[in-house]
Symmetry: C2
Subunit: 670 residues, 2 copies
């Protein structure tokens, strides 16, 4: 097609679409690694959405009222990078040429906070689907929180592209069911039904009626021809008009289109087409076969119109926001603060202090009280539980339930959907303006692993509250008793874990979680009551902020007992027992390995002097990794087997989590 003559709109559209195709092919080919097929098949939908419907401003990827776009099939990253570059984000053609190379901003799968315009990290399938649902909750919550008569400052859609693999994943099923229940009508998802996955034709394994399934979730379902970009706009309009349901637009496409030998095959999915096939495909597209990274000027003009339109949208919004600020200055300030991820001044002024004269209290119950306090000063902390709020206590007492009828409710009922809860939380964090929190039993962190990791990788502030944190939960038995979970969580980079010893340490655990904006925090709380430590006798709970601290010292201590959570009381009892035998021992409370590990070496040596090698750890959990703190000559009191069903105290005692065992282990070292 000669570029110099005047083209019809149809020809121009096709040129733009083929620019995405060839750019994606070329980038994958140059990297000699990647997934060309989906960008080629989805190019038309991507073009139509991004240039005609998506409300975005390439010049300001963080403009608050932009539509959010999620590429749930993250392996098709070249589709997204192509659109980012072509529409004028700060992604250059050189960045595209650097696809999948060391320190580039165009990694194999999209990473949040790395590439301008990438809203969330995707790749592990199903996660983007769930993230989008979380974004829609954030949008709905913020809209009711800030919009006022005559002032609509939050009003945008969440678009996602999903693959067959996304739709197969359980996390997507959970999220879809909840999205339908909540009538999250701002969700508009395109399902790229290309019927090809890595192992070939999906007929081998995936023959369900997806449309019917989504109707059963109460979604609005449409079918379009995914290869006809002109059907995209009208479908989006119909989806937008459906104000009571999320929308799924089922869009069959041809993976690898129009590669003569690879289209509609798995070989177009996850490998470069090969130089010959790239050439053949370009020939079919009437494209110079030997030119790489060719960007026709006419096409670029069309794409770059997004810049001016985006600027215009943002200008209009800014005007609206200025008017809003005049009428509602406090709300406007609050909106800006929330979108920046800042906490209100004095948010922590009323954090509770717990009285040692009171009865023992489970740290989950302390957590409930603390959260009740924070809820008053931090209006954008929202969340709930995967059907265990009555046990975990993560309630917002002065607020209702987030529901289809009431978007102001801060209590989110996730249902028995732990995985979706984690994924939705990540989506809320990705959206911005919200601090998400979700709770379940520590054992069920296993159901959430992929989302905890993605929160950590994406630097999302997502607060994971885990209760029933040891065999101390008792009768529910080994299926419900965490053993390896603290170790497994501690091993995740950029996750901060806390297992507070008592209610006052729990207050500081919450402080850490609230102030940690560049990553997730997980806290492990007890089911059973623990004594409220007397801080007039012991060191202040503020030591929690440093990860570990000398809770109770002894003159010329001969040994150190290091404990976490409910076992700190066991350590103190052992200290007393040893004192009776004139063996002076120091007790260190270590609620957070990660916080302690980043302290100054001098502080760490102060808490754990290298000269004292007689060290015993106590934690009602796997001893895995404790050598780090007790050293080569240390002893570890823990549980390296599965638990047992019986009253909690008995299980703890029988499995060796008791004063006698700790005393013996200390003595064995002296």
């Amino acid at each position: 097609m000669p570029e110099t003559t005047t083209m019809t709109q149809q020809q121009l559209d096709q040129l733009c679409i083929n620019t995405i195709r060839t750019l994606s092919m070329d980038a994958v080919q140059k990297a000699n690694s990647g997934h060309p097929g989906t960008p080629m098949g989805m190019a038309g939908i991507g073009y139509a959405l991004w240039t005609q419907r998506l409300k975005h401003n390439p010049g300001n990827p963080l403009w608050p009222d932009r539509d959010r776009f999620v590429l749930s099939m993250g392996h098709a990253s070249m589709l997204l990078y192509s659109l980012l570059y072509l529409t004028g984000y700060k992604v250059t053609l050189d960045d595209i040429k650097d696809f999948r190379q060391w320190e580039s901003i165009t990694p194999g799968h999209p990473e949040a906070k790395l590439t301008p315009g990438v809203e969330t990290t995707t790749g592990p399938l199903g996660q983007g689907f769930g993230n989008g649902v979380g974004m829609a909750i954030a949008e709905a919550f913020l809209a009711q929180q800030f919009n006022r008569p005559g002032h609509t400052i939050v009003d945008h859609h969440i678009y996602a592209f999903c693959s067959d693999g996304d739709i197969m994943e359980g996390v997507a099923s959970e999220a879809a069911s909840l999205a339908g229940h909540l009538k999250l009508n701002k969700l508009i998802y395109f399902y790229d039904q290309n019927q090809i996955s890595i192992d070939g034709d999906t007929a081998k394994t995936f023959t369900e009626d997806v449309g019917k399934r989504f109707e059963s979730y109460d979604w609005h379902v449409q079918h379009i021809d995914g290869m006809d970009h002109t059907q995209v706009g009208p479908a989006i309009e119909r989806a937008q008009k459906e104000t009571g349901k999320p929308s799924l637009i089922i869009s069959p496409t041809h993976i690898g289109y129009p590669s003569p030998n690879k289209q509609d095959t798995a070989s177009a999915h996850g490998s470069p087409l090969g130089e010959d096939e790239v050439r053949l495909t370009k020939e079919k597209l009437d494209w110079p076969a030997d030119e790489q990274f060719r960007i026709p000027a006419e096409a670029l003009v069309v794409f770059r119109e997004c810049q001016e339109r985006g600027n215009q949208w943002e200008r209009e919004w800014n005007e609206k926001f200025d008017a809003y600020r005049k009428e509602h200055p406090e709300l406007a300030a609050q909106f800006e603060r929330q979108m920046k991820g800042e906490l209100p001044d004095g948010w922590d002024r009323d954090l509770p202090e717990f009285d040692p004269n009171d009865d023992p209290l489970a740290t989950r119950k302390a957590g409930k009280k603390i959260l009740g306090t924070i809820a008053k000063t931090v209006p954008n902390l929202i969340g709930g539980s995967a059907d265990l709020v009555s046990s975990t206590g993560t309630e917002f007492p002065d607020s209702g339930s987030f529901s289809a009828d009431d978007r102001s409710g801060r209590n989110i009922h996730f249902g028995v959907r732990e995985h979706a809860m984690g994924s939705l939380g990540n989506g809320m964090a990705a959206h911005g303006g919200i601090i998400p929190m979700g709770s379940t039993f520590l054992i069920f962190s296993d159901y959430q692993r992929p989302t905890i990791r993605l929160a950590a990788l994406s630097h999302f502030q997502n607060i994971f509250v885990y209760t029933h944190d040891s065999v101390g939960l008792g009768e529910d038995g080994p299926t419900h008793q965490p053993i390896e979970h603290m170790a497994s969580l501690r091993a995740i980079p950029n996750l901060v874990t806390l297992r507070p010893a008592d209610p006052n340490e729990t207050t500081y655990a919450w402080k850490v979680a609230m102030e940690r904006t560049d990553g997730p925090t997980a806290m492990a709380l007890t089911r059973q009551g623990v004594p409220i430590l007397d801080r007039s006798r012991y060191a202040p709970a503020e030591g929690t902020l440093r990860g570990a601290y000398v809770l109770s010292d002894a003159d010329e201590a001969k040994a150190i007992i290091i404990a976490t959570g409910s076992e700190v009381s066991v350590a103190l009892a052992a200290q007393d027992a040893l004192a009776q035998e004139t063996i002076p021992v120091r007790v260190v409370s270590m609620p957070s390995w990660e916080l302690f590990a980043v302290q100054d070496p001098s502080y760490r040596d102060e808490v754990l002097p290298p000269s004292i090698t007689a060290r015993v750890s106590v934690e009602a959990a796997s001893t895995f990794g404790w050598e780090r703190w007790v050293g080569q000559y240390g002893k570890k009191v823990g549980i390296d087997r599965f638990g047992a069903s019986a009253p909690g105290k008995m299980v703890l005692t029988e499995l060796g989590i008791n004063t006698d065992t700790v005393v013996q282990q200390v003595k064995s070292l002296l």
Copy 2:
């Protein structure tokens, strides 16, 4: 109702059903812990199924052709324990009175291999649902493997009870979609739609049309009144007649029926009713209000008829099997061997040895070759991948795909459903006769965590093959590069992990996995090629069986480098480099921490002499936990951050996994 006069059948049925109800209430009340509501609501369905339809023999819970029963909502364990005791399994009334107590056989949630008649471990929701689908695959596979014209020796159903929570879990969605696709018609699931979960009315969070959803998966869906036990039998007959689909029988029940104050509320779900309410409920049932654990003689007679009927079923089957044995002696012997979980003699005689003169080979590719060999001698090893078989290589080359049309296929296409894959594998192992195997990338072990743990807890032989085991996979980047996964897996009790150094260690890894019948094995294999170590120069790969061994020694070694997987080659290169500088160093290959940890202390001291404290570990993964082996003065070369998208070699080098770093670390210790 006077017990001494003749009762109508209807009265007798009711007496039996109420015996389950009162027994469950009493046991929970005595334990002062547990879940009475579901056993009370489901008592009628349980009674009808177990006494009238379930093909089982209480006298022999392991009789091969029994129907399998799964209580997916494991918290309703008292329903199952009641049925086991009442129908005459080796579960006594004293065991029931010991519900949830230390060392009883009636723990809080059912545990496989602990209680006679408990087929699988349930509690974490959704898992039983998935296990049942795995059992149905096992049944179908074994039926085609062993049934012959005139000889039907495998022909049974899989029944499961599922709760609202089970149906909400993503793993159940994945499993249901696959079960419909595979037309597993032997599955008959009752969905206890009581609309109450721990946090109250499911209307808060779960309003999808479950029947429609399961129809979209191509299940046969029926609706009955779950409180009318007479509807159970006919529904089962209809389900059995539907030979092309799995069946879901949606059965609304009243949780806690007929507790006057707690029925249909969450307070009947997870706590004892309370003594007063138990009394009131018994009064409503026309039951002596102050008697506990009362078993009416007439009711017991009805339940215990299961014993004779079960014996009769087994006798008939034994006769059939004798006739089968006469005609097909080898098949019969093979059937018995498989059901015992034994491997054929000489199963490992053809295991490949890899030639060090050949090119470097990825351990995943070696694994493919090894599996191809084992496939020939072990006909009941079956499985596949969650849509990554082309990458993981876990193929049975001489067999087709397990499908609705061909039950003889040993290649199972799980689809992009990692969680279901793990859960189905557990179900296959629970069924018996099958050794299940499933593969995916190591990163996606996160999606399977709950199932790996349950395999370990249940002592199921389920083989988890994980490839792409480090940042060495390269360009796919941090979303796909495992870091914390080896540590996280090593922390699970009763799981054996192996990360073989080269193709010949991989052979032994498979040997371990095949011979380990009392728990799961996970192996981590490389994407990238690794050198085939020259065993004439280095120690034999058989050392793998002991977990760690001296691969390459040095006279008067001053330091030890301990490595796993692809980093063993790095360690050997470092050894050579240090030798150049006349620093003698020993290299230990440590493919399996767990196997090494259970060796004799003398062997362990031989491999890692306490006198050599200069130790360096090398593993392209989190260093979490390595202090255990390198000790207080040791150094750990690893990756304590997320990975990066770039060619694998570059990522490894840039992140410090290289000879120079290891050499420097060794020197720093000397």
